[in-house]
């Protein structure tokens, strides 16, 4: 199942024109994702993680200037014509967005939305599509599926709506699922259910998945590899167990420290990251995290660190003064 590279991103940059000049949302990102594996992309809001996913899906705003290449199964997506891209997006790549209320059409029934997708892309007749839709809703844990098909999005709870959005995304058996903050709008209990569901369906279908979130806690148990983004760049990338054992980039460590710990006593002050991310319309010479970093030195302000690897484990980080794993 694994081994072949399904998705490769090479030197991808996205510039958005603004009144204050071009805003660099994604800055020379390289990624690979093997078939059947899960990649977590973690970062604060504004770190470019969503824009990266849009650029991968070729859904970036039209006015955006995109450099670099996105290769899906060896085929470059940048040059693909609109119609072919549409086919590709449903059958090969699917997306689940953060807010299921806005990604579902409020004036169409759930059934209509699922069946439309199925008929359009799989070219099956209405009866077969109806049967498949019922099956799909069952697979994502929606009971009484036939009745549900006649309901409208507003008649479902947030968790149920997200399940429907996942059912639509899975309907054409995609090979890659991009889940962009799929649980941010949901309760913790529903969040756990939705993440379990995504995990289960991914394994069953041998799908690859990109899970985008701001919470390191979410990627910990559910991804094979994690990429941490800051100011449009990937600043640390490693296999998940390795990353949580030894974080090398001070930003990743700070993100982790900011999560309230269940085993810490009440009123423990949280080590929040002071300051704010840099203004993306102003290019900076050095490391973007340097102004907020407690390990910074002179070099950090002048020279941009590249994403490099210290050993053979595949753990890569962009930092001049990485945290020593033995010191931790």
């Amino acid at each position: 199942m694994t081994g072949a590279t399904l998705l490769a991103v090479e030197g991808l940059s996205v510039d958005l024109p603004t009144l204050r000049g071009p805003l660099r949302a994604v800055d020379e990102v390289d990624l690979e994702l093997e078939a059947g594996r899960t990649l977590g992309i973690v970062g604060e809001s504004g770190s470019g993680k969503t824009m990266l996913s849009r650029a991968i899906l070729q859904l970036a705003p039209r006015r955006a200037r995109i450099a670099g290449r996105v290769l899906f199964d060896g085929r470059e997506l940048g040059g693909v014509a609109a119609e072919a891209l549409r086919r590709l997006r449903s059958r090969s790549i699917a997306v689940v967005f953060q807010d299921p209320m806005t990604s579902l059409n409020p004036v169409l029934t759930i059934g209509r939305q699922i069946i439309e997708t199925l008929r359009e892309h799989l070219e099956i007749d209405a009866a077969a599509a109806q049967r498949r839709a019922v099956e799909l809703l069952g697979e994502v844990g929606i009971p009484a599926a036939e009745q549900r098909l006649r309901q409208y999005p507003h008649q479902l709870s947030g968790g149920m709506r997200q399940r429907v959005a996942i059912a639509i995304a899975l309907s054409c058996e995609p090979r890659l699922l991009v889940a962009d903050e799929p649980t941010t709008a949901l309760d913790v209990t529903v969040q756990a259910q939705i993440l379990d569901l995504l995990d289960r369906e991914r394994q069953r279908r041998g799908m690859s998945m990109i899970l985008i979130t701001h919470d390191l806690g979410i990627v910990a148990g559910r991804t094979d590899e994690v990429a941490v983004m800051y100011a449009g760049r990937i600043v640390e990338r490693a296999p998940t167990p390795g990353l949580f054992k030894a974080m090398r980039m001070p930003y990743t460590e700070a993100l982790l420290a900011a999560i309230p710990k269940l085993d810490a006593p009440p009123h423990t002050p949280l080590p929040a990251i002071s300051g704010r991310p840099p203004d993306p319309t102003r290019p900076f010479r050095g490391c973007a995290f340097a102004p907020r970093c407690r390990h910074r030195a002179e070099r950090c302000a002048d020279q941009k660190p590249a994403l490099t690897s210290a050993d053979a484990s595949g753990h890569r980080f962009a930092c001049w003064h990485p945290i020593d794993p033995r010191a931790a």
Binding site: R148, A192, Q193, T240, A264
Partner: protein, 376 residues
């Protein structure tokens, strides 16, 4: 000093839903001592926001008593209530939606002072500057700007400043950090702790995430289907949760540690799933609802029975305090207690402003389509 600042006794909040009634809060009693932080935890729809609002008399409770300091708030007239509200303030989940997009930050933060009748502009501005400084914003850079120029975290700081400017005694935070990023959330939690010490606040902290609640609370109350199912000192409640529902909430927290998550997965979460479903409705109800055919327009709850676990018998120790589905935003139809959760508008109109006020202010120039249509 032994007298609690807030004492809630047998509070009941109900909303009409067609011919039936939604029991949002059923017979809830608790108290908060002066200077204490009480965390109130529960899933959406459990009635925790209704409870918070009923305490501030933003929704009128059906029965029960809310005693603030020595004053009984239920049944208080408009004038006296307005005076009391100076002593208790509320912070909402969505900081951007709870700031009027057309008004400058200086005016927004000064508003409570104007309502409180402080006529002198100089005094007002002095206090606004002081409180903006306290929430770590630079007054000179902030006063003349509009909400859209700020990030979510900064907007929440502004909301906190607005609520603290008249120096209340009780601050109700309704999911005040739920919409924020991990790193910003930590900043706001630290800020709330600092403000609590500085302004000698008593906090009612409403949230759905037990990890966040633990970080800030002295005592924690867990709410389920309109009732409190467990109340206790924070450490004890987390060390030895007595109610299975509390355990379920604890299990759902994503722990940033792959090994421990794998362990939870193997040991606990599957079973807590079953507990969750049997919690929602007694088994017989669940099965009955499944067999019934639905008519057009009918809505039925299926949240109760997600997955195959509905077949499991309910654990003996739960279902005891649970009534069939209650909560705000619920629509009730049909004869069985099956319900569906209604839509929750992305941006609720800020309850601080009456519709009259919003209409007089002119059309909302919000970027959000929900509030735009709401004001048309």
């Amino acid at each position: 000093m032994d007298e609690p600042l807030l004492a809630v006794r047998h509070l009941v909040v109900e909303y009409p839903a067609g011919r039936r009634t939604v029991h949002a809060v059923s017979d809830v009693s608790f108290s908060i001592a002066r200077g204490e932080t009480l965390g109130l935890v529960g899933e959406s729809g459990c009635g925790k926001s209704s409870l918070g609002r009923a305490i501030l008399q933003l929704t009128t409770p059906k029965s029960g008593s809310v005693r603030f300091d020595t004053v009984e708030l239920t049944g208080l007239g408009r004038g006296p209530l307005r005076l009391m509200r100076r002593r208790m303030q509320l912070i909402f989940q969505d900081p951007v939606a709870s700031l009027n997009p057309r008004r400058r930050i200086g005016d927004i933060v000064a508003e409570p002072l104007r309502i409180a009748g402080i006529r002198d502009r100089k005094t007002r501005e002095g206090r606004v500057r002081a409180v903006l400084g306290a929430v770590e914003l630079e007054p000179d850079q902030v006063l003349g700007r509009l909400p859209h120029e700020f990030s979510g975290g900064q907007c929440q700081r502004i909301c906190i400043a607005r609520s603290l400017v008249i120096e209340p005694e009780l601050l109700v935070c309704d999911e005040a950090v739920s919409a924020l990023d991990v790193s910003i959330r930590a900043q706001i939690l630290n800020l709330l702790e600092a403000m609590k010490a500085r302004y000698r606040l008593t906090l009612l902290f409403i949230a759905h995430d037990l990890a966040v609640v633990k970080a800030i609370s002295d005592r924690v109350a867990v709410m389920y289907l309109g009732r409190l199912c467990e109340v206790g000192p924070t450490e004890l409640l987390y060390r030895a949760p007595a109610h299975p529902y509390t355990r379920l909430l604890l299990d759902a927290i994503p722990v940033p540690d792959p090994d421990r998550q794998a362990a939870t997965e193997r040991a606990g979460r599957r079973t807590s799933f079953a507990a969750r479903t049997t919690f929602r409705l007694p088994l017989s109800h669940a099965l009955r609802a499944r067999r019934r055919t639905l008519r057009r327009g009918d809505t039925r709850a299926t949240r109760n029975r997600a997955g195959p676990s509905g077949r499991l018998p309910p654990p003996a120790d739960c279902c005891v305090t649970c009534e069939p589905r209650t909560g705000p935003g619920l629509t009730v139809t049909g004869a069985t207690p099956s319900l569906a959760v209604g839509p929750r508008p992305a941006n609720k109109p800020a309850p601080r402003f009456s519709f009259r006020r919003r209409i007089f202010d002119g059309p909302h120039l919000s970027r959000n389509k929900h509030s735009a249509t709401a004001c048309r």
